[in-house]
Amino acid sequence: MTSIAFFFLCLGIFTILARRTVIGLLMASHFFTLAGVTAAVLANNSIDSAEDGAVFGFFVLLGGAFQFSILVAFVIRFFYLSGMGNIESLADLKNSG
């Protein structure tokens, strides 16, 4: 059952590698949050705890929401600066300094 969480983690990494747009980053952060919450819920059932897993999953969900808000701010900022949503041009920043 823990493989489900790992499956979503793999899906997030795959999304980052396959999609080179900022929306791809947002989708990947969603998959990472899904993996974390699923792992917390499953761990709760495996240790037969009362509510610790659900509360910890809620914290993971909040962390994912923070990550999402930062990424949305990054998307808006990046779009205003570069005028496009492709993150390939981020590699040029290394030589621009």
Binding site: M1, T2, S3, I4, F7, F8, C10, L11, I13, F14, T15, L17, A18, R19, R20, T21, V22, I23, G24, L26, M27, H30, F31, L34, V37, T38, V41, L42, N44, N45, S46, A50, E51, D52, G53, A54, V55, G57, F58, F59, L61, L62, G63, G64, A65, F66, F68, S69, I70, V72, A73, F74, V75, I76, R77, F79, Y80, M84, G85, N86
Partner: protein, 161 residues
């Protein structure tokens, strides 16, 4: 049974969301996938978490649609070579991790689906206010800082000049 259906359908929809060509379809697939995972959490007894998950995922999907629509961002073509390489590597790691989890005597995967007892909201609220109060305040403070920072970062510079 609900848990198995939710896991399979959610995984399939998540996979579809990675490969579709249009953003609105990807967001819709992700949203449906999130709802199904919320149903899975519900079947495991975490009702409060599933409700929070539905709210957060719906809000996030709406924000992504609005941002993508306003800024006109769209997907590029999926990079086939990198996708195939990443897929092979990740399937290999998935197999290795699953093998070791299965090899560990079933301590991690011996959970019956739907065996969790439903958590009462009272117990979750008591856990928040008694056991995890410091973490809750820390997260609330962090969220406030992040919201302020998000507004500062996403502000259009040209309006200031």
């Amino acid at each position: 049974m609900l848990g198995v259906f939710a896991i399979v359908a959610s995984g399939l929809l998540g996979g579809v969301a990675v490969f579709v060509a249009k953003i609105e379809r990807a967001v819709f697939c992700l949203w449906l996938s999130s709802l199904l995972m919320a149903a899975f959490y519900f079947s495991k007894g975490a009702m409060f978490l599933s409700m929070a998950f539905v709210l957060v995922s719906s809000l996030a999907s709406a924000i992504v649609l609005v941002v993508a629509g306003l800024l006109g961002i769209n997907f590029d073509k999926i990079q086939i070579k990198k996708s195939i390489m990443a897929g092979i590597i990740l399937i290999f790691f998935f197999g290795v991790i699953t093998f070791f989890i299965g090899f560990s005597g079933g301590n991690f995967n011996g959970i019956e689906l739907g065996s969790g007892e439903p958590l009462r909201f009272v117990s979750v609220g008591r856990a928040f206010t008694q056991k995890y109060l410091a973490e809750l305040f820390l997260l609330m403070f962090t969220s406030f800082l992040l919201l302020v920072g998000m507004g500062v970062v996403s502000r259009n510079e040209s309006k200031l000049k």
